[in-house]
């Protein structure tokens, strides 16, 4: 595993635009790009074979019905998705990631967990934008609980995903309950990481230095 924790900073460190560039040229990412293209093909294969199966078992009428339902849903969702993706880009430009790292790296205690949760929830984009922040947090001196709370908050109560995807797909009842019941999760994960694994993490960090 050629992970970069505790090793010299990768080329993209501290500079979002450089990070973006390295995203499309780094060797790791080429592999991921290939993976992404493959996943489209897999989706296509699944859709086709499922469609053929529906045709075989339920007749052409059922296929047509499913396709129309799909088109209706796509038309409903597209305007929301376009707005949401624009939003993600705008937030990325407005809130530089070094700012987040500096702000969080030095806070500790329960306050640190809370701040990490808020920052994680407000971080837009996929793993390519969140994990570099976690690395930056690590280098700015954040503890394992803060990092875990950040990743958990970003993934489970991300505001960006809520605005872009969940509003488009789910009724308000479902998304409100889902959001509220997920709010405590980052803090809980952060506390567990701190309580059970802080020593294991620190010992490994000391062994590296």
């Amino acid at each position: 595993m050629n992970h970069v924790l505790g090793k010299p900073a990768p080329s993209g460190e501290g500079n979002p635009s450089a990070a973006k560039k390295s995203r499309s040229s780094g060797p790791k990412v080429t592999g991921f790009r290939r993976f992404v293209a493959v996943d489209t093909l897999i989706l296509l294969a699944i859709a086709l074979s499922a469609g053929i199966a529906v045709w075989y078992f339920k007749g052409i009428g059922a296929v047509e019905e499913a396709v129309y339902a799909d088109l209706r849903l796509v038309l409903q969702i597209v305007p929301m998705i376009v707005a949401g993706l624009l939003l993600a880009g705008l937030v990325e430009v407005l809130v530089p990631r070094e700012f987040v790292a500096r702000w969080l790296g030095t806070s500790s205690g329960f306050r640190g967990l809370l701040l990490a949760t808020v920052a994680g929830a407000m971080t837009p984009g996929g793993p390519f934008s969140s994990f570099p922040i976690v690395l930056a947090l690590h280098r700015a001196g954040a503890d394992i609980g803060t990092m875990v709370a950040f990743v958990t908050a970003w993934s489970v109560i991300g505001i960006n995903r809520l605005l872009v995807w969940e509003i488009a797909f789910f009724d308000s009842d479902f998304l409100i309950v889902r959001f509220i019941s997920s709010i405590p999760l980052p803090i809980i994960a952060g506390l567990i990481a701190r309580g059970l694994f802080a020593r294991m993490w620190e010992r490994a960090e000391q062994a590296k230095n």
Binding site: L5, F32, L43, A50, D70, L73, V74, G89, V177, R178
Partner: protein, 168 residues
Amino acid sequence: MLISGIFLWSIVIVLSVIVLRKPGANYRRALQTFTTQGRRVAVRMPLALLAAGFIAVLVPQEVIGGLIGGASGFQGIVTSSILGSFIPGGPFVTFPFVIALKNYGAGDPQMVAFIAAWSVIAVHRAIAWELPLMGPRFWFIRFASSAVLPPLAGVLAALLWAAFGSHT
């Protein structure tokens, strides 16, 4: 849907004005994020919706209802937590499947656990991003600290719905 659309577009307009007026902020970079992301989504989302729709027609409703239906209780919450962990891809792939599952009788607390597991455990993301970038030790600690979260979210959601009774 209409109201949330207006809400979303208003935020976009406000933020656009801020970015355009702020010296040094780069509107073109914001658009770049939009186009790269948009290209990823444009093909995959309709395909995922279609695949999810077809599969939902094929899988008997009783099977979904029995495994992860509203009456499946805590066992269904655990089952959907495990299922959700292995769903690959972004929200544009996963949410269509959640919609299809919901239409075919999956329970709401079970789907809350499903989405939490897909978000937090995310086996595909661990393999593609977390292990290479953060290393196995970080992944292990994060996984061990998060494993209980999806069922917990499902239980909390069930309690919320029970408390407020808006759920049928």
